[in-house]
């Protein structure tokens, strides 16, 4: 390869967009040619410099708030940010100040509220996952109303064995199960039905420190998310069914899990 060619391919090489043969030819050339190698290093350095996170512009809080549906009554109490016309330097200065304060306060907040914050993100994720699952063809990996079919299906697919219970008698027939991912780990997702509503149950082993936690509830645009930790397992239940019915379901599920564990 001659230097002119190398210069043509330098950027694609830098971006890892060359095929194997060209990439190898380029590497060989750079080994033998000090000039091209120096140019390459310089661009590498420039690339590295441009990757500094401070260069990335993040959406202002006011904009994000405007586009985020309100979720909980607590949010509704705060006045909704009206759409501000573009020439509002003072408002922007205030917003910038607020963002700055937020930046300063955020680490502290996380330090204090780590559990709560992580939990909210998890609820978000669980709702998103449930929504994705409702899209055609996504709902189930194994379709069965029999827990003795569903439970073994997870063997070898997860590093734990999920509890699968039969709640058909209580009006919540099992529909099937699938593999899913929440908070960066693989979890078991079981799908139950209540009339025409579907209920996703996510479960996975809890971190050793929090082996049990009380039931907590949150609402996200029409979906109810219930979350608890019990017997070393974390559970998240998501559905658009009436919250009272979901509580009933959860109660039955916990009783079934407690009492005898219908494996």
């Amino acid at each position: 390869m001659i230097c002119a060619d190398a210069r043509q391919l330098l950027h694609a090489y830098l971006d890892d967009e060359l095929d194997v043969a060209q990439s190898a030819a380029m590497a060989t050339h750079l080994q033998g040619c000090a000039t091209c190698a120096a140019g390459f290093r310089e661009h590498q350095r420039l690339r590295h410099a441009l990757a500094q996170p401070d260069l990335y512009r993040h959406a202002p809080a006011a904009l994000r708030e405007r586009w985020t549906p309100r979720r909980e009554p607590a949010d509704a109490v705060a006045p909704a940010a009206p759409y501000r016309s573009r020439r509002g330097p003072i408002v922007w200065a205030l917003a910038a100040g607020f963002a700055g304060a937020l930046l300063l306060a955020t680490p502290l907040f996380y330090a204090l509220q780590q559990h709560g914050a992580a939990g909210d993100m998890l609820a978000d994720e669980a709702v998103s996952s449930h929504l994705r699952a409702l899209q055609p063809q996504h709902l189930m990996d194994v379709v069965s109303t029999d827990q003795h079919t569903v439970k073994p299906w997870f063997d070898g697919k997860l590093d734990f064995s999920p509890r699968v219970v039969d709640l058909a008698g209580a009006g919540f027939p099992l529909v099937g199960g699938r593999l899913d991912a929440l908070g960066g780990r693989s979890v078991a997702a079981l799908v139950y039905r209540r009339h025409l509503h579907l209920i996703s149950v996510y479960e996975w082993p809890a971190a050793a420190l929090a082996a049990s936690a009380a039931l907590s509830e949150s609402q996200q645009h029409g979906y109810t998310v219930l979350r608890w930790t019990e017997g070393g397992m974390q559970y998240v239940v998501v559905s658009d069914v009436d919250p009272a019915a979901l509580h009933e379901f959860t109660q039955k599920l916990r009783q079934a899990s407690d009492g005898g564990d219908l494996r």
Binding site: E42, R45, L46, L50, A59, L63, P69, R70, R86, Y223
Partner: protein, 190 residues
């Protein structure tokens, strides 16, 4: 299936709200980043992103899966160009004469390497001084970490065009940064 009345805010259609929020909203930062770098101004970026999000919501029915980030960034980019041509005809067109900025590798002596100023301030200024089409390709590639293919579908260009634009944009950026560091060097105490 019974339809429940969800508590979505008025501007979002309830039915679309949840899915739109799950699919499009995660890329609000990406949209803002591109718009802010293109406009170089908070208020203008605000207008562009607001308009782009409204368009995204309007066209969301026609979004058939695929990469939502690429889809949204293409809308942001188009919105920017439409708003700009409306507001300031010609300004945006900033024709880049590729002959004026030929792809010449300045002798990349090891010395030049140490001259490259890569502090945030210099980078920001140098990047803002680039003509929009070059700034765009740098932001998409380096900040947004898009592949050539993704950049091509966002900007509606051929991959070859993306590649040569990126090469020229980087050479120019490098030149700017070397020049600036020359000034800075005079204040260097060593």
């Amino acid at each position: 299936m019974p339809i429940e009345a969800p508590a979505a805010p008025p501007p979002l259609q309830p039915a679309i709200g949840a899915r739109f929020e799950a699919v499009v909203l995660p890329w609000l930062d990406a949209a803002w980043n591109l718009a802010r770098w293109l406009t170089r101004d908070d208020a203008d970026a605000q207008d562009v992103v607001q308009e782009a999000m409204l368009r995204a919501l309007r066209y969301f029915d026609s979004f058939r899966g695929g990469d939502a980030r690429v889809w949204l960034l293409a809308i942001v980019r188009n919105t920017y160009f439409t708003l700009c041509t409306k507001a300031l005809p010609g300004h945006l067109l900033e024709p880049i004469d590729e002959d004026v900025h030929p792809l010449v590798d300045e002798q990349a002596s090891p010395e030049a390497l140490t001259l490259l100023a890569v502090d945030i301030g210099s980078l920001r200024q140098a990047l803002e001084r680039l003509p929009a089409p070059w700034r765009e390709v740098i932001v998409l590639r380096e900040l947004e970490e898009c592949s050539y293919k993704e950049i091509a579908s966002i900007t509606g260009q051929k991959i070859g065009t993306v590649m040569s634009r990126l090469a020229r944009a980087r050479e120019r950026l490098k030149l700017e940064l070397s020049g600036r560091s020359g000034e800075a060097r005079r204040h260097d105490l060593r």
